[in-house]
Symmetry: C2
Subunit: 152 residues, 2 copies
Amino acid sequence: MPRKLSTLDPQRLDSQICFAVYSAAHAFNRVYKPLLDRLGLTYPQYLVMLVLWERDDVPVKDIGEKLFLDSGTLTPLLKRLEAAHLVKRTRSSEDERQVLIALTPQGHALKEKARGVPPSILAATDCSVSELVAMKDEIVALRDRLNAVIGE
Amino acid sequence: MPRKLSTLDPQRLDSQICFAVYSAAHAFNRVYKPLLDRLGLTYPQYLVMLVLWERDDVPVKDIGEKLFLDSGTLTPLLKRLEAAHLVKRTRSSEDERQVLIALTPQGHALKEKARGVPPSILAATDCSVSELVAMKDEIVALRDRLNAVIGE
DNA sequence: TCACATTTAATTGTTCGCAATTGAATGTGG
DNA sequence: CCACATTCAATTGCGAACAATTAAATGTGA
């Protein structure tokens, strides 16, 4: 009598935390989209801008380490940000292998326009800040354990 | 004296739950990759197979509703699964607008080969099942609230 | 110094993910 | 019954995401 086991079946879609994370990421993306459209940014471009608003004039590699992305993703993305006049890309003179990414005045200015984004997202989650912080910390811990397994 | 506020700054990358979810999704993907390579599947293809292993002979729309994906994503993906001889795509005779997706014998057989995937993922998370279930339920609830906002 | 490994970005090719549009089939109101 | 709207899948175009490779600059050991 294998009844009621279906909800525990590890091969069921709804049992899988990974699908929960995957589908939540897409849901976030859809909420961000109209907000970021006004800034002329995609979500990954917004992430790069967040990094640069914290610290400017950084090599591509540093951005990649913070966002867990490689040059195959970042190079074309940064070229689009450059085409949008938000960043400048210049070869480092000390180490010619590195390309340094710096904000333009427009890139700096966009930070003010983007100030309304996090509150809008917070409202959409319909959660308290403390709940979100707790969830975020759990998810980050999980992510870091997964990333630790990869580097084996 | 705006000191120590940086960790609470909503415009900081590390404050954002969305980045936690985004980067966790990518971390999961990297853990799944070597496991799914052996099955000849990508992660989204694996999700479609999970749906079909639960219920066969379903229209594209139903798959899309379960996975939150549209025909722009699913049509080419399903064609690849068909080219890999895992599914058949046939127009419904009752409603010629629908395309029904059915597993081939190889598609059915793959379920057995895929049985080892969830335990491997579980091991990689280094979490107890009950912890994961609790996190999963929280994330699903968050996702559903976000999706509710979109349909406004 | 010189051969060799390492680091860094860029490039190529494949697969998602989605917006917008198209076209065919079906449903509905008058 | 017929004009019209709706539904469904397919298509087009663009921007990620990543594996694999390339090329140039830098570091290292003999």
